[in-house]
Structure formats: structure tokens, C-alpha cells
Symmetry: C3
Subunit: 308 residues, 3 copies
Amino acid sequence: MDWKGRDVISIRDFSKEDIETVLATAERLERELKEKGQLEYAKGKILATLFFEPSTRTRLSFESAMHRLGGAVIGFAEASTSSVKKGESLRDTIKTVEQYCDVIVIRHPKEGAARLAAEVAEVPVINAGDGSNQHPTQTLLDLYTIKKEFGRIDGLKIGLLGDLKYGRTVHSLAEALTFYDVELYLISPELLRMPRHIVEELREKGMKVVETTTLEDVIGKLDVLYVTRIQKERFPDEQEYLKVKGSYQVNLKVLEKAKDELRIMHPLPRVDEIHPEVDNTKHAIYFRQVFNGVPVRMALLALVLGVI
Amino acid sequence: MDWKGRDVISIRDFSKEDIETVLATAERLERELKEKGQLEYAKGKILATLFFEPSTRTRLSFESAMHRLGGAVIGFAEASTSSVKKGESLRDTIKTVEQYCDVIVIRHPKEGAARLAAEVAEVPVINAGDGSNQHPTQTLLDLYTIKKEFGRIDGLKIGLLGDLKYGRTVHSLAEALTFYDVELYLISPELLRMPRHIVEELREKGMKVVETTTLEDVIGKLDVLYVTRIQKERFPDEQEYLKVKGSYQVNLKVLEKAKDELRIMHPLPRVDEIHPEVDNTKHAIYFRQVFNGVPVRMALLALVLGVI
Amino acid sequence: MDWKGRDVISIRDFSKEDIETVLATAERLERELKEKGQLEYAKGKILATLFFEPSTRTRLSFESAMHRLGGAVIGFAEASTSSVKKGESLRDTIKTVEQYCDVIVIRHPKEGAARLAAEVAEVPVINAGDGSNQHPTQTLLDLYTIKKEFGRIDGLKIGLLGDLKYGRTVHSLAEALTFYDVELYLISPELLRMPRHIVEELREKGMKVVETTTLEDVIGKLDVLYVTRIQKERFPDEQEYLKVKGSYQVNLKVLEKAKDELRIMHPLPRVDEIHPEVDNTKHAIYFRQVFNGVPVRMALLALVLGVI
């Protein structure tokens, strides 16, 4: 697989070998950065971050990654300051901006926008989210985090908790995990179960999948608990939401039954699905997970720029 | 002419020698950048981009140019995030910001703002548009593009198409072209003809100027067709606009009569005055023209910073 | 005092030795920058500027300082483009952003926000204003300016003019000046006198403090006149404001009685409390004062990053 010039649009475009390449490159870059303090792989290169809708954490993570590689950044943080307002097509905007840079990171409210940008641009395009919150770099940093914490992904028992129906983050992660030998525990209220076709796909690929509505029943088995925000606005009935909400908050009491090695992850931002009291336990790794976004994005930038 | 510390406010301040210096410096920097990948002329220098009104493409082009020279960038993309809101005068804002940087690029909705900024500031000021869309760097990149495509400007037949009445871009380009031995074809609907005083000025300076309302009549003669956006909002009558619009769209049919060497330019953004089907023809160079903005702005920055 | 990793939240946290360290480091960095053109103390380091409310001059000053040190900058200029909108706590935002950077500069509308950020973050946090316009770097650059102009602070007669009641900038400056042997002249309308408890505190610390409502009476004695904006909106009565306003404008007439060495300072932005005609006199140093913000912020960044 030639990485130079490659677009990164969906995790579905990645083979297991691709994923392993990204994880190994991220590990190497993280180590080199720690040793040397400053890398110069992307010296003289320019990243354009085109955020047609705001997403501070994702934008700052990519910009940090580019700077850590010694490169420069241009771009915009929201569409209101972009020339999109003048009625220009996305196609023309991309054809224009690519003249100013070596790689594009795009975030766009419309599904398919990143794919279109990739088709139009000659420089590589990385999808930082289009239409939903799903984006391939989140899944890659999730996998990187699991591997870094346990030294492996194979053999782990991984629980996904929360909104498994609409949450694209957990859909992508579950699909990517089929490359590995893991047991998957899907923990959600009835209303928010993982769609049937995804569960079937996971099982067809040989994955052991357990579904439950009660975290307490499975917490003792898990190596990883991946928590997602339950989005209140999805619920037709406020009372229904409130009942569900309480039963799913991860707090110290729930964790009494957890294994010592349990790691709790979250793509953030969180609202109340993890109580702040959990932050100081050895289980909480969600801020380390945030940190891991930087080496993973460094790896992707270095690979598609062809500088590593 | 000493370039170090010079302000770049209007193309009218430029002699032919000045223009040639910019074009030659741009050519040199473009070549050096290609050979070395990274230049360091502006290492340790800071550009402040003060965009009192948004203009993403112009801002990103300047920022890219500064980074390509190895320099750094600070600034703001729109006035709402600037301290202008606190009732500070433009004069004080400029006197303040110049303490933080080595060169200023300013875009401002009020005509004369860039000239005022230049008078106030001790660091050099480059006008990225004030009051109208005219700005000298557009004209310079237009000239650079023509020279790069043909190896010369003299002897060419250049058509300007569209709104020649209000379009400052074409006014500036036409005036700058009087330094060269070109034939100018002014193609526009009656309502949007080039103002009489400009046409007279061009002819007084010895330029051959032909005016027409019909692109088809002259397309076969042209080496360059410079297309501008016809701004719908200028027309008192929607029907009149629609009739005009159709007759002026550059598409494959119109291009059947064009010379092989014809190059089509556009300052962008475009709306529908060039059909996307033209993009893949050998005639379309408007995205290369966008790219040329970078070496031209690199040249200006390096010259006024006195680092080349 | 170990500076590496230290937070800079309030000038009240600073000993005289701390202040002297910052001033000496700023002087050294300003000299080195002049000699070498470009410093690399912060090469490979990343500053995150988190401006939850806009403050262009402060943000650009910090960003300039970081670039002058050879470092990189990420961040946002106003809260609307940040993920705060998704209901995330400030605590989580800080814990997240610190994963992307080596030092944080924060500006926040709520008092106490910077202190909270400092408690949460493992990277050093510098307060660029929270709740009021007071921030420690303003006071430090004011002291640096006085020392640079006179070679010393001890022995000077310093006047503070304007809104001494609400103006936190002058409160902080007055408090910091108790470390030095200065005479302080508090010049304000009756309604805007310095709060009693501050005046008493100053006197208890041995400072000679003179209060007056009439600039003309004391202008001839002063070495420094520090002017602040009188904020119209504080006045219950427009007529009262207008009367006060006129009597306090610093203009050429008022300056007739001033000593030759008088230096006029202002934290800016100004509205009309200093007439523009004063700008070109030898007394006006408020734009040099702006410039001094850069070496002072360079010093703070270098110190808390532990790179000097």
C-alpha cells in the first residue's frame, strides 16, 4: 500500500495491515518526539484545516500534530469566515485551497463532503467528520489507546456503553475490532441497541458479541469500557431519558465490581455519563486517550505526506 | 527603488520596473521552493494578517506565502474578534499591532483604510483589498500568470469578459497592461462597458483597444480570456440579467472557435460564468492562477521585509 | 523559586524577587532577539491560546512572543468556535487541550476561571484576564516599561489618572509598586477615587500616597503619568461624565507644565482620555509600552516552559 497522497475518508477503507501501519507509525513518532523534543518530518509542509463546522478539540489535535512534526498550519475554524458565503461550490473551494497547502483536513456538516473533497483535490484529504461525528481518526486513536494500554488488542473483553443505535463512533470502532480477536459487550437501554445489521455483520466475521441492558452484570468481566454520551435529544420522552440516564452513569459504586485492570474510555466531550469522581481512579484513561490523538494524527499526516 | 519597508497599496504606485522586479522575484522564489522544498528567507519574521472583513482565499494565500518563506503568522479573520469593537481607532489598532510583527497585510471594508494604515505604521503594509475587491496583489498574480504561461506578455491579445463597469480587478489589470505591448478586447453587455475615461486613458497610452458585446466574434483571436463574475445584484431587471448571463457563459460550445493556445483566467470565486465542463480543458488555468498567488505574495513579502 | 511548570494567575502571587526575575529575563530576551533576529528557546513547544472572550491585542501579543521564541501556537479567538457550546465543563476543556500543548494562556469572562484552569492542568497556565481586565502580564509589562525608560523604578514620582475605583489595572500596578520606593499620585474625580482599603494598604507598606482631583496641580512633579480609560457606562449621569471627561483629557495644554522627562503610559485601548496630538510628543510612550508586552510575555513563557 502506497501511503503518499492517500486520502483518509472512512475506516472502512482500511485493511488490517493499514491499521497496523498507522498504529506502528504513531508509536514510533510518539517515542521519537519524547526522545528528541521536536521532529522535522513535515518541515516546510503546510496543513490546511477546513472546518466548515466548529470542532475545537479535533482541530487543535490536528494542528498540534502538524506542529509536532515541524510543519505549518493555515485554515479556518468555522464556515462564517470562509468564502463559502459568496456562493462558491465546495469543489471550487477545495480546488482553490489545495493550491496553498500540502494536505487538507476537512470537517463538514454534510455527509459525503469529505469524499467529494478527496475526489477533487490532488493533495491528500483527511476526514475530520462529515455529517455525523464519525471520523476515521477517532477509531484509529481508540485502537491505538487500547493497544498502548494493554500491549495488544487480541484477547480483550471490550464493552461499549451508551447510545449504540445512533453513535457512529461505536459503530466504527466495533467494525474495526473485527480485525482482532476480542469479545464485545454491547451495553445499552433497549431503545438504543446496536442496529441488527451491524450485530449480524460482527458475528458473521467471527466476533463473540454479548448484548445486555445492565452494566452491572458485565462490568466484572471487562478489560475496556468504552462510554459514549447518550444524547438526550434523541429521546421522545424526557421521563424515559431520565430513567435510562441514571442507570448508566459510570461512578465509583458501579466500579466496585470492576477488575483492577479495567480501562474506561470516552471519545469526549462528556456530560454526565461518567461522574467526575471517576477521573482520579486508575481506570480513567479518557484524557490519555485524548493525548493519543496527537501521535495517531502525526502518523496519518506523515504517511499521506510521504515524509516517513 | 528600495523595496525594504515599502508599502504595497495600489498597483498605480508601481512602475514597470517595480512590476518586473516582483515578477522576477516570484519566479526565482517559485523555482527555489521547488528545488529546496523549504525556504528560510523570512525565518524569525512575523506577518500580521488583519482581516476586518473575511476573505478566506486571500488570507490563506498570504499565510501560505509567509509559511513557504519560513516565517510565522498572527492575526484575525474577521473584525468581530478584534478589539475594534471597543471603539478603538484604526490608527491605534495599527500602531498597536505593528509592535507585534514585521509586516502587515490588511483587508478592510472602507476605501482608503489600507493607505491610512500604511501612513501610520512603521512596518510595511500590504493592501489585501479595501472598499472594493481591487487589490494590487491580484493584478500582480494575473500578470505573473500570463507571463508564466506564454513566457512573455508583449504581443498577446487579451480579452476581458464580464462586468467591466464595476469590476476593479479588470480596471487594474487593464491599466497595468499599458506597460506592455498588448491588444485588449473588452467584451461586455452594453450596460457593463468599461468606463469611458479608462478606455481613453488606455488608448492615450498607445494600447489598441477593441470593444464588443459578443464573445463569439473575438474568441478566435484571443490568447487570454480573463473572465469576471457578473454580479446579478447590479442589474435593475432580473430578465435583463438572465438574457445577458446566458450569452456570456464560457462553455465548451463557445470554445469551439478558440485558438489552441487560448488560456482562460478568472480571479475567482466564480458562480456560473464559466461552466465546470471547461475546467478539464487545456484552456482552463484559473486554479493554476490561484497557485501563482503564492509565489507573487512570497515575492512581495520578501521584498518589503528586505530579506531577499 | 522554581519557575518551570509555574502558573501565572495573579500579580499578588509574585514576590519582589519574582518580579525582578521576569524583568531581567525580559531584558535579556529583548537584547538577544535584537542581536540574533530569531530565538529558538521554545522550538518544538506549543502554546494554546484559549480566548473564551475576544481580546485581540492580548492574544496577538502572546502569539507574537511565542513565535519570537521559535515556538508554535494553536487555539481559538472566541468561545463560539470552541466545544464549550456542547455543554462541556471548563475543567474537561482544560484537561483536553493540555494534551495538545506545553503551556496554556487563558482569557475567560468569569472571575476565577484562570485559577481553576491552573488547578486542573498539569501544563503551566498563564492568566490573560478573567472577569475583569486585570491580568498579571499587564502589570509586569508596565513595570518593565518604567524600568526600561528610567533605568530604575526606585525614586520615581508616578501618577495614576482616571478611573481608580473600578480599574483593576491601576490597582494591580499600585500594589506591585509597593515593592519599590516610589511616590504615588492618585488623580481622579471624587466619584472614582481609589478604594480606601487599597490606599490604606499602600500607606501601611510605607508608600507615600497623594490624592488629588486636579491633574494640573501635580503634573509638574511627575516622572510617569499612567492614564486609564474612564468608562462612560459607570456614570449614573451623562452630564456628570461629560464634565469629568473634559477636565481629565491629557492634551498639549495640560502638558505645558510637565517636566521634560515625563513619560505618559496607557494600557490601551484609549478612547479620548489622551488627545492624539500627544502621540508625537516625547512624553508619549504608550505604543512602546505595547511593544514591551512582547519581551515580558516571552520571559514568562520561557520561564514557565523551563527553557531558559
